[in-house]
Structure formats: structure tokens, C-alpha cells
């Protein structure tokens, strides 16, 4: 087996319990919502679909737990002795958590897509009024892109912060919980603080023609969040490479 695949499979198995709980919970929400929507109406239970989209903080916690578990379970000696770069060790953990994120996203967005298509059909057939804001401009298929960009960028940002926090904890013997909170709060503050300048820079890139439709207007913001997530991840990988000790 390829070393990367072996590590990835190991990480997937390592988070299988939490992964199963999150996936089953999402699937249950999807089933309930689709069942209620079978009559073609709008139901309060549809609001449940927002819950799976709120799981990125849980995924960041899961990533941090997966890293700290190597030390808690005393497996850090075997793990760090493997003949792969240390960044690979962390990236495979991140890949496993991202796989879970993709599974949740696909399941939930499938339900959202089905319901939205049903609503669009109803509106087009004239048995329901368009939204108060005017005609519905979003195609059902575009929901995948819109929710994917939002969920993906938030997930990447929080996973990056989680990776940075988990790596910085290697440098301290005490106050590790406090450090984690500080990294998340500081990281989010920094993200907010840098937002105007970075977003402006992204907008000025002529090589990226942005369609100013309802959907794509938000994409530079999502791209910014993703870039910040990658930046935090790179910082975390660097610190881990230098300071992780068995």
C-alpha cells in the first residue's frame, strides 16, 4: 500500500466513531426533511438543514483531537518515526476530516437541492408567489456551488486555525486550553481585520473575472476565507515541523 494511502486510511479509521455519528445525524435530518417535503409544502423542519452546515467548528475540534490523541495514546513515537515529512502526517489527518466534511456537505446539499427544485417548480407552475425580494434568480444547480463555497471556505478557515492551535500547543506545557482559545479568537480577529485589503486585492486580479450575479458577488469573500485558512495551516505545519517532540 502507498504510504499516503496507508496514513489516510488510518486517519479515517481513527475518526470513524465521530464521523459515523455526524454522518448518521446528517442523514437522519435529510430523511426527516425530505419526508416532510413530500407533500410539496414548506415545513418548519426544513430549518434543520442549517445544522449540518454549522459543523465546521466541530470538525476543527475533531482535527485537534486527532492530533493530540497521538500523544494521549502514546503513539507519537511510532507516528513521528515514520519516514514521511511531518507535514504529511498532519495533512493526512486534515484530509480525513475534509472527507467527512465533504460527506456531510453532499448529503445535506442533496436534500436542500431537492427541496429547492421542488419550490422552483411550484413557483413556475404559478401555485406559489415568488419571494418578496423579487423573482428567484438562483438556479437549483447553483445551490451546490453557493453552499459548497460557503461551507468549504468556513471549514478550511477553521481547520487551519485548529491546525495552528494544535501545533502551537506543542510549544507549551501549561495553559494549552487558553492558548487554543487565544488562537481561535486571534485568528478570527486577524481574518476580520485583514478582510478589506485582501478582498480588494483579490478583486483587482484581472485574471479572475467575477460574475457579479447574486451568487458570485460573495465568492471573493469565500476565497479570502479559504486563503486565510491555508495561511493558518501553513503556519501550523511550520510550527509542528520545528517543535513536535515525541
Amino acid at each position: 500500500m502507498n504510504p499516503l494511502v496507508a496514513l489516510y486510511v488510518k486517519e479515517l479509521k481513527g475518526i470513524r466513531l465521530v464521523g459515523a455519528v455526524l454522518t448518521v445525524a446528517t442523514a437522519a435530518i435529510v430523511l426527516v426533511v425530505l419526508n416532510d417535503a413530500a407533500d410539496g409544502g414548506i415545513h418548519l423542519s426544513m430549518a434543520l438543514l442549517i445544522l449540518p452546515y454549522m459543523c465546521p467548528p466541530v470538525l476543527a475540534g475533531l482535527l485537534m483531537h486527532a492530533i493530540s490523541q497521538e500523544w494521549a495514546g502514546n503513539t507519537q513515537h511510532q507516528w513521528l518515526a515514520l519516514p514521511v515529512p511531518r507535514s504529511t502526517l498532519l495533512l493526512t489527518k486534515m484530509a480525513a476530516v475534509c472527507t467527512l466534511a465533504v460527506a456531510i456537505y453532499m448529503l445535506n446539499t442533496f436534500a436542500l437541492y431537492m427541496i429547492y427544485e421542488q419550490v422552483l417548480d411550484t413557483v413556475q407552475s404559478g401555485s406559489m408567489s415568488p419571494t418578496p425580494a423579487g423573482p428567484m434568480k438562483i438556479e437549483a444547480g447553483e445551490l451546490w456551488v453557493f453552499t459548497g463555497a460557503l461551507f468549504g471556505s468556513l471549514t478550511l478557515l477553521l481547520l487551519g486555525l485548529g491546525l495552528a492551535a494544535a501545533s502551537l500547543k506543542m510549544m507549551l506545557n501549561r495553559f494549552r486550553g487558553l492558548l487554543t482559545v487565544a488562537v481561535f479568537l486571534g485568528g478570527l480577529w486577524l481574518t476580520e481585520r485583514l478582510a478589506p485589503s485582501v478582498t480588494g486585492a483579490i478583486q483587482s486580479m484581472e485574471s479572475m473575472p467575477l460574475d457579479r450575479s447574486v451568487l458570485t458577488a460573495a465568492f471573493d469573500g469565500y476565497l479570502y476565507l479559504a486563503v486565510m485558512g491555508i495561511a493558518f495551516s501553513v503556519a501550523g505545519l511550520y510550527v509542528f515541523d520545528r517543535y513536535a517532540d515525541a
Binding site: 479509521k13 511510532q78 507516528w79 518515526a81 517532540d245
Partner: protein, 230 residues
């Protein structure tokens, strides 16, 4: 593999584990790294295995800095159990086999039989001694160029220790393998080590060929060790 250690320091927050250690392990030989608890043996081994960084100084293995390349040629048995408790014995070995060139599944099976382990056993159900045996299987199932064994027999019942150690060094060892064994129970490795390094307080107290030391000091390695400790 030739291992050159030069002015090696390892400082923890409230403790200095290694104090300017300089020594050389010759290739293809079995070296016993002996010393009391806290003498710096495990720290030295962790740095050689690449799982811990040095505070100062260098370790070069065949002229290379410790890194991905040297880790790919080193079988490291840490002092503590380092297996994933949710895996089975077979899964753990299969996982490791993905990383080490020349992993020999047949030899792994033979070693499992020799150590009285079965692939289906779950690691969290193994006794401490069985886990220690599994560490040895994982280290000798592939032709690593360097084997670093840190207190490898902790947990194994005394009557089995000598049998296992002799079998490893005499039957399962690849000829060119350099083996480093650390222990504070010197009598266990008395007849097997060719070279000896005694560490005390993170420094070399005595080093040399085992036979030369015995002739020079007029006693066994255990006697010399006791003399140093006292």
C-alpha cells in the same frame, strides 16, 4: 550504518538530558547503551530515531542529518508501547509495511509465531509483555540498516528475554544491521553486545569494545556498570 554524535545537547524546561555528548557507533555492530534511569539513553535514541530534535549539536547517520531518509532505514522500538490500540496485530503490521522498503510478510509471520502472537489479536487486549513482543516483530520484519531498541524487554518475563534476544541477534538479524540496545539491566545483554557505551548524567562515562573493557577492568560488564554507578 555509522552514527556520529557530536556535542549533542538536549535541554528540557527544567532538566538537561544530554550534556555535550560526542561518540560514534560503528556500522554492523551490536552496541549496548547502558546507564541508570535518567542517564540520557532514551533521549539519545529518540534523537537518533528522528522523533525528537536536539537542542544543540548534530547526529549524522552515514553522513546524513537525521530526517525522512534516515527514518526510512531505522527500526525504532521506543521504551513505551506505541501501537494504535484500536488496531489488530495484523492491521498494525500491515500499516507499518506501507512505509518500510523490503518489508517481509513471511518473516513477519514467522516472528509472530516465534513471539506467540496471532494477527487477529486486538492490541488493546494484549498484555504488556505481548506488546513488547510485537514491537520486536515490527522492528525485525524488514531489513532495516539500523535497529534502535530502547529497553526492549520491559514487560517480557525474564525467562523469555534471553531466548528472544539471542534469536533476534543470531537468527533474525540481517548481517549488515547496526543494532543499538539500551538497558539498565546489563546482565541481559552481557554476552551479546560487541561495543558498550555507559552514560551517566547525559555524558559518556566509559565507551569501548566489550571484550577490551572486560579485560581492562577485570570483570563482567555488570561489574563495571556497578562500579560506575557506585
Amino acid at each position: 550504518m555509522r552514527i556520529e554524535v557530536d556535542n549533542l545537547w538536549k535541554r528540557y524546561r527544567r532538566k538537561v538530558a544530554l550534556r555535550g555528548l560526542s561518540l560514534c557507533f560503528e556500522p554492523g555492530r551490536v552496541t549496548g547503551v547502558l546507564g541508570e534511569n535518567g542517564s540520557g539513553k532514551s533521549t539519545l535514541f529518540r534523537i537518533v530515531a528522528g522523533v525528537t530534535g536536539a537542542s544543540e549539536g548534530t547526529v549524522r547517520i552515514d553522513g546524513n542529518d537525521v530526517g525522512v531518509r534516515t527514518r526510512g532505514e531505522t527500526a525504532y522500538l521506543p521504551e513505551t508501547d506505541s501501537f494504535y490500540s484500536w488496531m489488530s496485530v495484523g492491521e498494525q503490521l500491515e500499516f507499518l509495511s506501507a512505509f518500510y522498503t523490503g518489508w517481509d510478510a513471511v518473516k513477519a509471520r514467522e516472528l509472530l509465531d516465534f513471539m506467540r502472537l496471532t494477527p487477529g489479536d486486538r492490541i488493546d487486549e494484549l498484555s504488556q509483555g505481548q506488546r513488547a513482543r510485537l514491537k520486536i516483530v515490527a522492528a525485525f520484519a524488514w531489513p532495516s540498516r539500523l535497529v534502535v531498541m530502547d529497553e526492549p524487554f520491559n514487560g517480557i518475563d525474564p525467562p523469555s528475554r534471553r531466548r528472544i534476544l539471542e534469536a533476534l541477534v543470531r537468527e533474525y538479524r540481517v548481517d549488515t544491521q547496526t543494532i543499538l540496545i539500551s538497558t539498565h539491566m546489563v546482565y541481559e545483554v552481557e554476552g551479546l553486545v560487541e561495543d558498550v557505551v555507559y552514560l551517566r548524567d547525559g555524558q559518556v562515562a566509559i565507551e569501548g569494545r566489550a571484550d577490551d573493557l572486560r579485560a581492562e577492568k577485570g570483570g563482567s560488564l555488570s561489574d563495571i556498570f556497578e562500579e560506575i554507578v557506585l
